[in-house]
């Protein structure tokens, strides 16, 4: 017996100027299933879903819903047919409250004598129900701009649940969710499944996919390379289907298996504190050839610690030493001039220049770094700009028509790579990576890990903050566990396991 097919996409093709995003893609969604879409950055996953939601018109092909064949859909059609999307780029309105965001365009109303007014009681009640469902513990009247990224993501999910739906598309919903929040999301997904709705789930995180998926379709260069039952495949099979090869699992420095105590100290932080308590007398050392990772629960203050190191947030006290010499980092500019670089966590907010093309986005940092007069003086060297961008495009395999393309036209993962490229292009002594592989596909992740190793081996310092433990375990030689503004444990790679890190992060087990 086979479940009813809700949506069928037939031989869909989509061309953008200079790029064929989808070449001949067929895909279907059944009632009560989670259908995973998997593929490299720029494979066409988001584009396929945007065709289904009416954002893009397909160049050719068709979509069948309810036995009716559509050459193309409008957003209105999609809405009417019960297709809901949680987009990769958040679309919540920051200045409105949570509840207003949830019901934007369809506020609950009360009938008065001659007119309708917004029924705030009803709105609050329904909003609370939705927030409960997704596990967001916030007053529904809070303005969305006060929320963290992961909370905004949860609002986005709740918004899709606010109206009745037949198909819910989730484009990388877990990219910035915490472990706990992912559990909540999965519970929601299971409930939706039980109600017979169809779910499309896009993610680059294989363990998640193996857990929540029923079927998986692998996309490669805009074509379907296979649809499988999740039960019939292993994660490794999927990687092979997607990347066409097996990937390396570990990137540690093998030359120093018993720790780095003997090695030269490259970078040191001494007694760093923040006024808000997100860093309390923190000290650590980074040795030559070592990659140091920071694990911890979200909210532990790892990003805040790095902000203070990098000069993006004020320090209350503390010293930063590079090659044993104290350096000043009172602003990011000073930090950059003194040899630091930091890939920030929330790159859409703190990294992305939507008005720039790829080469301008990448070359900005080298330009600022080399300019005299506080980063202002000097001319734009177009040959350098181009060379610099091409170099990163090659190193990170950024998928684009040319480096003159606006970044807004790139796929989500490729946008992330552009920002990574900017910080690599600065050729700094010390690189801080905060969630380096957010939104990046498995194959490229492996390449980025290899790149980090190369950097460390060539004498640069690499610090990694990540909430993905497998990532830390794959690249770091040493893992520091951070909790409530303090380093509570330090594990050499040989002693680090998921279990003991999770334990230390939660309980603050200091031996």
């Amino acid at each position: 017996m086979q479940a009813q097919t809700l949506v069928q996409m037939k031989h869909v093709r989509k061309e953008f100027p200079g790029v064929t995003a989808l070449s001949d893609m067929s895909f279907d969604i059944r009632a009560g299933e989670v259908h995973v879409l998997l593929g490299e950055n720029g494979a066409g996953k988001s584009t396929l879903m945007k065709i289904l939601s009416g954002v893009h018109k397909p160049t050719s092909g068709s979509v069948v819903i309810d036995g009716k064949e559509y050459k193309s859909l409008t957003p209105h059609d999609a809405n009417r047919l019960g297709i809901r999307v949680i987009y990769q780029e958040l679309s919540v309105i920051p200045t409105l409250s949570i509840r207003e965001n949830l019901f934007v365009g369809r506020l609950p109303v009360k009938k008065r004598a001659f007119f309708h007014t917004v029924d705030y009681g009803e709105m609050q009640r329904r909003a609370e129900g939705l927030l409960e469902k997704v596990g967001l513990h916030r007053d529904a009247r809070t303005p969305v701009e006060d929320l963290s990224i992961s909370e905004k993501q949860q609002v986005e999910i709740a918004k899709a649940l606010a109206v009745d739906s037949r198909v819910i598309i989730m484009d990388e919903p877990t990219a910035s969710l915490t472990h706990e929040e992912v559990r909540h999301l999965f519970a929601v997904i299971r409930a939706l499944k039980a109600q017979g709705r169809g779910i499309v789930f896009i993610s680059h995180k294989l363990p998640e996919i193996m857990e929540i998926g029923d079927r998986v379709t692998v996309l490669k260069d805009g074509a379907n390379v296979g649809t499988k039952q999740i039960a019939d495949v292993t994660a490794d099979d999927l990687v092979t289907m997607m990347v066409g090869r097996q990937i390396r699992k570990n990137y540690q420095n093998e030359s120093a298996p018993d720790g780095f105590e003997q090695e030269e100290v490259l970078f040191e932080v001494k007694g760093l504190s923040r006024r808000d308590g997100k860093a309390r007398d923190v000290s650590f050392r980074l040795h030559k050839g070592e990659i140091l990772g920071f694990a911890g629960l979200v909210g532990a203050g790892r990003s805040e610690l790095m902000d203070a190191v990098f000069g993006a947030a004020p320090k209350q006290s503390g010293q930063i030493l590079l090659h044993g010499k104290e350096i000043r980092t009172k602003s990011p500019y000073q930090a950059i001039r003194n040899g630091l670089a930091m890939v920030t966590e929330n790159r859409r907010e703190t990294g992305f220049f939507h008005n720039f093309d790829i080469k301008q986005n990448i070359s900005l940092l080298p330009f600022v770094k080399t300019a005299r007069g506080g980063g202002t003086l000097g001319l734009i060297d177009r040959r350098f700009e181009k060379r610099c961008a091409e170099q990163q495009r090659k190193a990170l395999r950024i998928k684009c028509a040319s480096v003159n393309q606006p970044v807004t036209e790139l796929s989500g993962g490729n946008q992330q790579k552009v920002i990574l490229g900017r910080w690599l292009a600065a050729q700094s002594e010390i690189l801080i990576f905060d969630e380096p592989t957010k939104g990046i596909d498995v194959g490229s992740k492996a390449e980025i890990y290899a790149l980090m190793r190369e950097l460390a081996d060539s004498g640069k310092g690499v610090l990694v903050v990540s909430s993905e433990l497998p990532e830390l375990l794959a690249v770091c030689d040493t893992i520091a566990v951070y909790r409530e503004g303090e380093i509570v444990r330090v594990f050499p790679h040989s002693a680090a396991t998921e279990e003991n890190i999770v334990l230390a992060a939660a309980a603050g087990d200091t031996e």
Binding site: P17, G18, V19, A312, S331, P332, Y333, A335, I336, R337, M342, T344, E349, T350, G351, F352, F353, H354, N355, F356, Q360, L364, L365, F367, V368, K369, A371, G374, G375, T376, L377, G378, L379, I380, A401, S402, R422
Partner: protein, 328 residues
């Protein structure tokens, strides 16, 4: 692989020639031509004369100068509402200096520099208070107008050397007004700044994403200062130019000119959200405002009606631009 990429770039080049992309590049220019064509049809006798060109150029210059500065303020997602008052104050001070016996050339230079200083004050206030430039420059607009009234005793200042007025109003080869050359030279310099310098690149970055600019090491406050200083310098230059063209310094001069400057920048394609826009567009935008002004006089519209028509045409040309650009 190589061939594939070549194909891709060729396809891209082809795409560039669609109506849409052409409109995006030259659409504003189209509106300018359209307005000129309307005038040519309505008043062929007057329109086709050499003096038409001279007059349009001269009339547009002050507005273009102010708009060039305004462009930068809008580019960083701000605004400068004080430019009209800066024009009046710099003109007034320059006139009084000359009347007091200071050499005209020195007075002129001091007038322009005063504009820069006033801009700097705007910038410092924005940086120090963290308030939106709209609020700050709304305040300085009133303050500077008040200062102009105080130092002039609310009356016009005449009687400075006629050589000053004559020089500023000169037409090179009897055709191109000197003021137009000043405006266009300023545009060329600023265009170079926006396209070829790191300073210009940083300002665009700031307009695109302030926080990302900060993380990338751009000194946000310094660049905000520079932007308002450029706006002030341009307004100062406009003040001196206006003084030369009018021949007297009026305390109420240039009232409401900030509106035209903003209109010119927006018609020229500058985004109110910051980070997007080009000097070339601003110049065209300034000419559009100038042509509308000139046309209304040519068609001898009663001055009471001129404001209404101007307002309607500003909305009309921006709406037309966006409408055509959004249509696929």
């Amino acid at each position: 692989m190589k061939g594939e990429r070549n194909m891709a770039s060729k396809e891209r080049a082809k795409e560039k020639l669609t109506f849409n992309t052409l409109w995006q590049r030259f659409g504003t220019f189209g509106i300018l031509i359209l307005l000129l064509a309307i005038l040519a049809v309505a008043r062929p006798g007057h329109f086709f004369s050499v003096s038409t060109v001279t007059q349009i150029l001269a009339q547009s210059s002050v507005n273009i100068l102010i708009a060039l500065g305004e462009f930068f303020a809008i580019l960083i997602a701000g605004i400068d509402l004080s430019v009209g008052s800066v024009v009046a104050l710099t003109g007034m001070v320059t006139a009084q200096l000359m009347v007091a016996g200071v050499h005209p050339l020195l007075s002129l230079v001091l007038g322009v520099l005063l504009g820069g200083v006033l801009g700097l004050i705007n910038g410092v206030l924005v940086n120090r208070t963290g308030l939106h430039p709209f609020i700050i420059t709304l305040g300085t607009q009133a303050i500077l107008r008040g200062v102009t009234l105080i130092i002039s005793n609310s009356s016009a200042v005449f009687g400075f050397p006629a050589s000053f007025t004559r020089t500023i109003s000169v037409n090179v080869f009897g055709l191109v007004p000197l003021v137009a050359i000043i405006a266009l030279l300023t545009a060329v310099v600023l265009s170079f700044l926006t396209r070829q310098t790191k300073l210009g690149r940083n300002i665009y970055a700031l307009g695109g994403n302030r926080e990302a600019a900060w993380y990338a090491g751009i000194n946000v406050k310094l660049h905000t200062l520079i932007v308002f200083m450029i706006s002030g310098l341009c307004a100062g230059l406009a003040g001196v130019v206006l003084l030369g063209r009018v021949g007297s310094a009026e305390p109420a001069a240039a009232t409401g000119f900030e509106t035209y400057a903003i209109a010119a920048a927006i018609i020229g394609g500058t985004s109110f959200f910051g980070g997007k826009g080009k000097i070339f567009g601003v110049v065209i935008g300034g000419f559009i405002i100038g042509v509308i002004n000139f046309g209304m006089n040519l068609l001898s519209l009663p001055s009471t009606l001129q404001q209404v028509v101007m307002g309607a045409l500003i909305i009309g040309s921006v709406a037309l631009d966006r409408f055509v650009a959004n249509k696929k």
